[in-house]
Structures are given as C-alpha cells and as structure tokens.
C-alpha cells in the first residue's frame, strides 16, 4: 500500500491515487534538511563560547557607550574627518573605475557568445569566484602588507574584490546581447574589435553603467571601514578614535559614515532613474 501517486493505471490504481505535493524522495530530503538545520542550531547554541561575566554589565556598558559618544565632538570634523571622508570617496570611486577596467576583459572571457571556448569561459569564471570569495578587508590586509598602509591599498582592495561582482553581471549582460547586430557587423567583414565597439558596447552600455553605479554604492560602504586594517579613509579616523578611547570622536565618524552612505544611496537611486 503506497500513496506515492506512482501506481499503475487501471481501476485499482485510480482508486488509490492520492494527490501529493512532493514525491517521497522530496519529502525525505526536506525532512532530513529540517533535522540537519535543527542539529546545526542546537550544536551552535550549546558549544558557542559566551563569557557570562561580560554579560552582567552589558546594559551599563551600552548606556556608557552612548553617554561617552554624546555630545559628539564636531570640532574634530575639520581637523581630520573631512580629509578622511574625501579620501574614502576617492577610494571608492577609483576602486570602482579600476574594477570595471579589470572586470571587462574577464567578463568578455566568460561570456559564451564572445569567447567560444569552454576552457576559457571556466578560467574566467574561476577568476570571478576567487576574487569575490576573499573579502575586501582581507584584500586590504594583503595590499597593506605589499604597498604599505594608505589609500592605495584600499583602492586596490576595493578594485580586486569588486572584479567578481562586476564581472559576473557584466558577462550576463553581454550574453544577453542580441546576436542580430553582431552578425550584421561580421557580415560586412568588420574586424573583432569593431564588432566589440559597435556591436556589443551599445547594447550593454546601460547595463554597464547601472552595474558600475550599483557597485560604487557598495564600495562607498566598504571603503569606509577599510581603514580599520590600514586601508585609509574614514576607517583610519575611526580606528584612531577607538584606540584613543575618544568615543565622542568615534561617534562623529559613525555619524559621517551614516550620512555619506545615505547620500550615496540617494545619488545612485537618482542616477539609476535617469540613466535607465
């Protein structure tokens, strides 16, 4: 007696057939999945190390945090934070431009309608995954070790980490390009470079700009914290304030980060509605 719905047709099967949303295999897999999730949660809850002594005074510490931050030390803004803010914006912008430059060839390599070699496609895809898997803060640690602390390390960290994201979406946009114009150009005997510039570029340009804009928005957020590991910008100012325990200055940096992120979001939303 089964109720799987896989019964032979005929009167007996017809009588027993019952509608089921999932096949038995699916149900077993889902049940197994739920059990697995439950085990993972219980394991994590039981073994995670939490130091209870720290928790007793958490409310006081939280209150203390805000008391120390208030009033915010606005006088610190012209001295240090303004320059750091400008540096953060440069880091994000330059990093995004560099990322687009680096990602474009990789995206062309990944796009199956441009590069007709499975091996090259996969090599490109590997580059995209590898750059994306390592977080920009880790790239920053690496570039600080190589080029020394400063905005340069931040720019390179942002650029390299963004290759994965930018290249992935760019290659998808290229793959969606209509083959008609490309074939027309090839039929006139146009060289590959001309097909690229006059056939593919006009088709992917809006997507290209939108991707760059979207990434810039993300990069402003990320470059604001790169300074914590030596990447320059607002994070550096935050790090200085925190290691001096000047919470009123740290509060100022946090407010500036909040403001710049909100402004960036508004700017990109406005630009997106104008371009697309």
């Amino acid at each position: 007696m089964t109720d799987s719905g896989l019964l032979p047709s005929g009167p007996a099967g017809q009588r027993l057939r019952q509608w089921q949303r999932f096949t038995p295999l699916q149900r077993v897999a889902r049940a197994g999945f739920y059990v697995g999730v439950l085990i993972a949660i219980i394991w994590a809850m039981r073994t995670i190390q939490i130091i209870p002594e720290f928790l007793y005074d958490a409310p006081q510490q939280t209150a203390d945090l805000f008391v120390r931050m208030w009033p915010i030390d606005w006088s610190w803004y012209p001295k240090t934070v303004h320059a750091a803010l400008i540096e953060t914006l440069h880091t994000a912008t330059l990093g995004t431009i560099l990322a687009v430059l680096l990602a474009s060839p990789v995206a062309l390599m990944v796009a199956r309608n441009v590069t007709r070699s499975v091996v090259l496609n996969n090599v490109g895809r590997l580059i995209l995954v590898a750059t994306r898997s390592v977080h920009s803060l880790m790239w920053a640690l690496f570039f600080v070790a190589v080029f020394g602390p400063g905005a340069l390390a931040g720019v390179l960290a942002i650029a390299v980490h963004s290759i994965g994201f930018t290249g992935k979406f760019l290659s998808e946009a290229i793959e969606e390009a209509k083959p008609g114009p490309l074939e027309a150009l090839v039929a006139t005997g146009a060289p590959p470079a001309a097909v690229l510039i006059k056939g593919i570029w006009p088709q992917v340009k809006p997507a290209f700009l939108a991707i760059a804009m979207f990434r810039w928005d993300i990069n402003v957020r990320e470059s604001a914290v790169l300074g914590l590991v030596g990447g320059g910008g607002l994070g550096m100012a935050l790090d200085t304030a925190l290691s001096n325990l000047y919470w009123d200055q740290a509060g100022l940096v946090l407010v500036v980060i909040l403001a710049v992120v909100i402004v960036t979001e508004i700017v990109t939303a406005w630009a997106r509605s104008r371009i697309i």
């Binding site: 897999a29 939490i50 540096e87 440069h90 803060l137 880790m138 070790a145 080029f147 980060i257």
Partner: protein, 265 residues
Amino acid sequence: MSQAGPVQPRVAFPPNWTSRIVTVAICAYVVYAAQIVDFTWARFLTGLDQGRRFVARMFPPDFSADKLDLLYGGLVESMQIAILATVFGTLISLPLGIAAARNLAPAPIAWAARGAIALFRTLHPIVIAILFVKAVGFGALAGTLALTVASVGFVSKLVAEAVEEMSMAQVEAVRATGASFASVIVMGVFPQVMPRFIGFTAYELDSNLRNSALVGIVGGGGIGAPLFTAFQRFDYDFVLTIVLAIIAIVMVGEVVSGWMRRLFQ
C-alpha cells in the same frame, strides 16, 4: 547603377560628443585621484617586489599542530556565529519584512519598519560589531549579534519586496472566509513568499560565513582574530592556511545553500 541625386552620404556612426567628453573627464579624474592616493610607478614597482617576497613567504602553508588547533577553534567559532546569525536574523526578518510591506501593514507601521531596516542596512557589519564588542564584550556573542543585525537589514528588505510583489488574490480569498490576521499571514502570505524566503536565507548563510571571518578583526570572535594576528606578526604562511580554510568553508557553504535552494524551489 545608383539612383543618383544629391543624397547626403549618411555617416554610419556619427560621433557621440557626450560620451567622448565623459570619457575624457573620467581619464582626467583617474589621473588626479591617482595623485591623491599617491599611486606612482616607482611605488608600484616597489610593491611588486614586496608582493613577490610576500607570496614567497606564504609558501609552504603552515600546517603545524598548534597552528591547526588555533585554526580549528577559529573556524568552528566562525561557523557557529554564521549559523546563529542566519537563524536569528532571518527569523526576525520575516515579521519585520511583513510589517514593512505596504500592501499588508498600515502606513505608519510600514514606514517605521522601513526606517529601522534602512538603519540596519546602512552600517557595515564591522561597524556594528565594534559597537557590540563595547556593549557585550569581546567574543562570539558580539560577532553573532552584529551579523544578526546586518542579516535583518538585508533579508527583511527583500522579504518586504517579495510580499509587495505577491498576488493579493489569495490573501483576499483567505480574508473573505473571515480568517484572522494571523491566518491570513499563515495561509495567504507564507505559501507565496516561502520559496523566495528560503533563497534569501541560503544567500544570507553564504554571506554570513564570509563576514564571520571578519568580525574577529574588531574582537567579535571567530577566525578573524587569528588571521589579523598572523598578519601583524608576519606569519604569512599561517595566513595562507587560514585563507585557504576560509575559501574552503565558503565553497562548502555555497554547495549547501545550492542544495537548499534546489530542495525548496
């Protein structure tokens, strides 16, 4: 045999002056900004040399027993942080996302929820982690709380969008039977948003696995602390071990979240 006549020859590709000016402007900016961040050819060459030495010191990766213990402890803690932050974050996101959906929640509640989500989304997880380290002390709890807040910001926005895009017909059908608000949510809304919600959860697990390697840099527990220390002590061979382990974990996480998505599609 052309039809003749004084027809103006048509330019196939007329010059696009806006795009040329923009290109020139971007080039000018790059030159200017490169100067600001002190990017010179000499520095690049020194960096290349330095980079070569750096990479040389990374090999072979350090697999000695005491380092592996450190690595194992950090990775386990990172995974615990990621799992708990994903569970709590997505569980909070579901009601918050529904509260932020303008087709279900009354306008004042929706706007309040949207404001909260925007605030959570704006701050980078690392910055949130700094605040939680001060509030609850060093350790995994601070990291978990920070990533939970970051997950709430990300997932509840997507949940709100999913709820706003769903079909209201089913919701109205359930309402017409006289069902309570809770029943409307459970019978009319959940079945429609569940597949996408699972997708967001899978994505968030991925992203929390990546971020849990970072919160340690500011004292939030996990593998980030050993990584940062190894960098500062120039133990680059151990750095490579940690980075390889993180990449492996992230890839395993990607496979698991891929299963999860396929299972619930």
